[in-house]
């Protein structure tokens, strides 16, 4: 029996040497090792062996099975390997073809810039206040120290709806509404963003509709130096740590002292270029200490509290920030324009 087993091994190994296909290999596995295969056939005769012979022959049978299995597995692996290799060879892509992009829309540049400005002030502890775009003469002018027939009203030509109702010319009425809502409480620390309207012929730098962001701070002992400090913090966060500010005396009916604020030119860093008309400075803000009349009308005692206010045009900052050549692009909404603001 031992010889038959050894013979089977020789025969099987011999035959396995000539296997070319996975099918042939499988056939041989069935032929030799299957339930009805040759090895099982031989071992079925073990019943006739003595108790001493049985373990010996059993061992030989196991060795023969192991030897055949080992070769079959080896062959099997080789076939698998070859198949994988073939598949990989067939599976090449043109990696230069474009992929499927995620959709990319855009936030309008005016809102993008407004949000950026808002975030700087939120970081400085401000909350955001809003109010109507159609306002009463009282909130837009009178409560801001601009009585009817005051020459300073010429500074802002307005769109009236009736004698007493108009499109707001600045977001300052929101400051008045905020003061009244605070009922004399301090501190007040708000910014007021929104659309405003002034009668102006549209051209590359003027628009009858534009966006403002104004700020108002009221508290005990608020000083003009605090205003300068606040604006410096703002421009450095907005335009970079190298940005400086310069205040020039000016006039607004609702603040005194008042100032126009220049910031270091974003284009040339202050060296002088076409953008800043070779001055090194760009005018971006108006500001001042809240006029005592405005505090009084807002329900505060100017002997007890003081405050500052500032305001800027969002369009102006967006024009500077992105180097846009014409303010009208903001309202034309050409997709070729909007698409450029999809970036972070």
């Amino acid at each position: 029996m031992k010889e038959r087993l050894e013979g089977l091994r020789t025969e099987a190994l011999q035959e396995l040497q000539h296997v070319d296909t996975p099918q042939q290999l499988n056939d041989l596995r069935v032929k030799y090792l299957g339930k009805k295969g040759a090895l099982t056939e031989i071992l079925r005769g073990m019943g006739g062996l003595s108790a001493e012979e049985r373990p010996i022959i059993g061992q030989v049978g196991n060795d023969v099975r192991a030897a055949i299995e080992s070769v079959i597995n080896e062959k099997q692996d080789a076939f698998q390997q070859a198949e994988t290799n073939n598949r990989l060879l067939a599976e090449t892509l043109d990696v230069t073809l474009p992929g499927k992009a995620l959709p990319t829309g855009s936030v309008h540049p005016l809102n993008k810039v407004a949000q950026e400005i808002e975030d700087v002030f939120i970081g400085l502890g401000y909350t955001i206040a809003e109010g109507p775009e159609v306002e009463t003469d009282y909130y837009n002018f009178e409560a801001l120290n601009l009585p009817k027939n005051h020459p300073a009203r010429d500074m802002q030509d307005s769109f009236y709806v009736t004698d007493d109702i108009l499109m707001r010319t600045h977001t300052s009425p929101v400051q008045v509404r905020t003061m009244k809502a605070m009922n004399g409480q301090t501190p007040v620390k708000v910014i007021c963003p929104g659309k405003v309207y002034r009668r102006d012929d549209d051209d590359a730098t003027h628009s009858f509709q534009f966006n403002q962001i104004e700020g108002l701070v009221i508290g005990k002992n608020i000083r003009m130096s605090d205003l300068k400090g606040t604006l410096l913090q703002f421009v450095q966060q907005m335009f970079g740590a190298q940005a400086q500010i310069r205040l020039r005396p000016s006039f607004f009916p609702f603040t005194e002292p008042s100032a126009e604020v220049d910031v270091t030119c974003v284009q040339c860093g202050g060296k002088g270029c076409r953008m800043c008309k070779h001055t090194g400075w760009l005018e971006i803000l108006g500001c001042g200490m809240v006029h005592p009349r405005v505090l009084e009308m807002g329900g505060y005692d100017p002997e007890e509290v003081s405050g500052f206010a500032f305001g800027m045009g969002v369009e102006r900052i967006a024009l500077l920030k992105y180097g846009i050549d014409d303010i009208r692009h903001f309202y034309t909404n050409d997709l070729r324009f909007l698409g450029q603001f999809a970036r972070m």
Partner: protein
């Protein structure tokens, strides 16, 4: 205000400052200088010449050949084409090598065969502004006065070797509408002294009172009226120096009398007016309000209808001038005028302003009165002008001033403490520093031991009335740069966005991330466009502007969608046929015809989809947007806002929407269901009109959403027991809405049903006409145990049965 450097130098020493340096100093001190303009526009080498003879050009009718002496000893032959050239004239001559504006170099030339050694110039060729030239000088060559010296450089003669500073004055600094005011400002900035003009009047023995009387009937509108009388004037051209001053300031010389009134107005800031005294037969002046129905022909020959709020100067009977705005034609000073009544007054600013606004008549005079002239200069300006007129016109000033006044000028005293100044500015100024600043401003003050300054505000500075006005003066003269930068004392409060702001930001972010582009449109639109979508306009009226710039921007928008449509059409015309747009903004509604209260401002969100959802690419076909893309936007944002369960959609047919492809969006509020907007396809007729492909729009109100949005995330334990899924397909009538089917499923299966999803909708011949198959996937789950097959089968069976009964549905096998 245009300020000539040379002229200004007569009132204050400007040595050491160029025009540009002066401009910078003033700008940093609060008076902004727009431009520093050189008056010489590029003239070089032009001198005064004497035309000795003039002969006709042998070969050209229109040319003359002149012999000219320019003081060099050599006689020049110059061919000249001007009609007015003549022998005996003094004229500007550009000699060979001279340069005229525009870099025009004068060379030796032959004109029709005759040599010309230079050019005789017109005023225009010398770069003078034509509009500012006296009429005689507007055509032909410039003829200079007889006294002009031959050979003098023309820049000297015309005073154009000068610079003009253009002041951009803020409304509070009307004191700088005068040369003297500007001199005071520079005095404050530099510490130099101001030199005021000296006036001497040599009067006749005739008393003015015997010739004229003055009365103010409208007391509230005129606090002071004064006049002088000048006899025997010869009205004629002003001397060049006077003309040059006016031209530099941008005023056209007219005649010696009128020019002096303008000159003194520029000098003192006090407008003056000269009447032809012989046209005032009664010799009476009465300042009163106009009467209804009165008219006046003003100097510009326009007949003005007067109204009872307008202040007029009358001759006791009829109006002869609009006070402070413009004189009347009937009393105009002309070449024949012999006697002059000269007026200097203080008219109320508001009164002048109202009249000038209403008549659309803004003059150098009204600009100054509007901002309140200095009451202390009424008389000095009158005297100065009278003396100059007498001097330049050979007239005689009669003795005394006739005047009337209604209110004494009250001195304004303003106290401010050193402590307050420093506390307000954040500075540490000393008593002496503040004293120096007030000193330079020529502000008189008393200083107490406790460092309180009590300042007597000068009348020329009407803007100084409160302590802050003084603090501002200190701040600007100390220099804004010198104020330190500090941080606010006190409690730090956290900053934050409000809920509506957070929601809008979230929408912007989600929508832009999903491929939509945000637009910002004008709030103004045309009236017909507000009527396009009455359902979105909520059947209200648009708000009308009183004086719109144009018809198509005459009302406030009532919807956002209209402008999205226009934006899509604009982009389509630029070959962008696909667009995914959104806007967040206000619309304005009112139920009034004429507003008596503020309109309703409603925050809206709108979107528009047109063309392709995705463009064709090598691995994907182009696909067009459809209704469900638009609806999907809403569903996504409602999911983000925690409102999915509070929103439903119902088929609707609002005007200008596709009647079969539009839904009303309903929000379930505590008060019941409210339609907050619509989503649907544009009506095909409108699409065609706008030249757009299939276009889907939506617009919803945000105000209720702000209220109800729920941003609170509540964690739910992950399911621990398995779910069971049952899929069914139901054949129903075409009209049966999918939401009805899912609604019934929820109603019956609620105890175990976790979700119902429509995963297929099919129509086809096999089903028969008017039928469709809707496939639902139902998932059942119990939170605390594993479901048994039997209980799911039982419940699911009930669901199916109810669906079959409610909708005559057939289960598709």
């Amino acid at each position: 205000m245009r300020v000539s450097y040379k002229w200004l130098n007569e009132y204050i020493d400007l040595s050491g400052f160029t025009g540009e340096e002066l401009a910078e100093k003033m700008t940093r001190g609060g008076i902004e200088i727009d431009v520093v303009e050189s008056r010489n526009k590029g003239v070089n080498g032009v001198v005064v010449g004497y035309v000795k003879s003039k002969e006709k050009h042998p070969d050209a009718d229109k040319l003359n050949v002149c012999k000219v002496d320019v003081g060099t000893g050599e006689e020049l032959q110059i061919v000249c084409g001007a009609k007015n050239v003549d022998a005996g004239q003094l004229v500007p001559v550009a000699v060979i090598g001279a340069v005229l504006p525009g870099d025009f170099k004068i060379k030796r030339a032959k004109l029709r065969g005759v040599e010309s050694q230079g050019m005789i110039c017109s005023a225009k060729e010398l770069g003078l502004n034509e509009k500012l030239l006296p009429k005689e000088q507007q055509e032909g060559i410039l003829v200079l006065p007889a006294a002009t010296k031959i050979g003098t450089p023309i820049g000297e003669v015309l005073g154009i070797d000068d610079q003009v500073l253009e002041l951009d004055l803020t409304p509070n600094r009307s004191d700088c509408l005068s040369m003297i005011g500007v001199a005071y400002e520079i005095g404050a900035l530099t510490g130099r002294e101001v030199r005021l003009p000296e006036t001497v009047i040599n009067h006749t023995s005739v008393s003015t009172e015997s010739l004229v009387s003055v009365k103010i009937s409208a007391e509230e509108h005129c606090s002071h009226y004064s006049a002088r009388y000048i006899k025997g004037v010869k009205v004629g051209e002003s001397p060049l120096w006077l003309q040059n001053r006016l031209i530099a300031a941008g005023i056209r010389p007219i005649s010696n009398v009128v020019d002096v009134t303008n000159f003194v107005m520029l000098e003192y800031g006090q407008p003056l007016h000269a009447f032809d005294a012989d046209r005032l037969p009664g010799g009476r002046i009465d300042v009163r309000l106009a009467k209804a129905g009165e008219t006046l022909v003003t100097l510009d020959d326009q007949e003005r209808k007067l109204e009872p709020h307008m202040l007029v100067i009358t001759d006791g009977e009829k109006p002869i001038a609009l006070a402070g705005v413009m004189g009347g034609a009937s009393t105009e000073v002309t070449g024949e005028t012999v006697n002059i009544l000269l007026e200097s007054a203080k008219f109320d600013g508001g009164t002048v302003r109202k009249t000038s606004r209403q008549l659309g008549l803004r003059s150098e005079s009204s600009i100054r009165f509007e901002k309140e002239v200095d009451p202390a200069r009424v008389i000095p300006a009158l005297d100065r002008a009278a003396s100059l007129i007498a001097q330049l016109s050979e007239g005689l000033v009669t003795e005394g001033i006739v005047e009337a006044s209604t209110a004494a000028v009250k001195p304004v005293q303003v106290p401010v403490s050193l402590e307050k100044i420093n506390g307000y500015l954040g500075t540490e100024l000393s008593r002496l520093e503040v004293q120096t600043i007030f000193g330079r401003l020529h502000f008189e003050y008393e200083l107490s031991d406790s460092n309180v300054f009590t300042v007597n505000a000068p009348t020329r500075r009407g803007d100084i009335t409160r302590a802050v006005d003084l603090i501002e003066e200190v701040a600007r003269l100390h220099g804004y740069d010198e104020i330190p930068t500090t941080l606010i004392h006190g409690d730090v409060v956290p900053g934050s966005l409000t809920k509506p702001q957070s929601i809008r930001r979230e929408l912007r972010k989600r929508l832009s991330d999903a491929g939509l582009h945000e637009v910002v449109s004008y709030s103004f639109t045309g009236p017909e466009r507000t009527k396009l979508f009455p359902a979105l306009a909520e059947h209200t009226n648009p708000v009308k502007l009183a004086m719109p710039m144009s018809e198509d921007r005459s009302v406030l928008r009532t919807t956002l969608v209209v402008q999205l449509l226009e934006t899509a059409a604009y982009n389509r015309n630029r070959k962008n046929e696909s667009a995914a747009l959104f806007e967040i903004g206000s619309v304005f509604h009112t139920d009034e015809e004429q507003l008596t209260r503020l309109p309703q401002e409603k925050h809206r969100f709108a979107a528009l989809l047109t063309g392709n959802r995705t463009e064709a690419q090598w691995n994907a076909k182009a696909s067009q947007v459809d209704f469900y893309d638009a609806k999907g936007i809403l569903e996504t944002i409602f999911a983000v806002l925690g409102l999915t369960a509070s929103v439903s959609y119902e088929a609707a047919q609002p005007e200008h929407f596709h009647p079969g492809r539009t839904a009303a969006v309903l929000l379930h509020t505590p008060k019941g269901n409210e339609v907050i907007g619509y989503v649907g396809q544009l009506h095909p007729a409108l699409q065609l009109q706008a030249d757009l492909a299939d276009t889907y729009v939506l617009e919803i109100g945000l105000d209720l959403i702000y209220e109800l949005a729920d941003s609170g995330i509540e964690y739910k334990v992950l399911p621990r027991y398995p779910a069971m899924q049952r899929d069914i397909a139901l054949v129903v009538d075409h009209e049966v809405a999918a939401a009805k089917l899912t609604g019934v499923a929820w109603e019956i299966g609620s105890e175990l049903l976790e979700s119902v999803r429509v995963f297929d909708v099919y129509t086809g011949e096999k089903l028969g006409a008017g039928k469709k198959s809707v496939a639902l996937s139902l998932i059942y789950r119990h939170g605390e145990r594993t479901l048994t097959d039997e209980e799911v089968t039982e419940l699911h069976g009930k669901v199916v049965l109810q669906l079959e009964q409610s909708f005559a549905a057939e289960l598709r096998k």
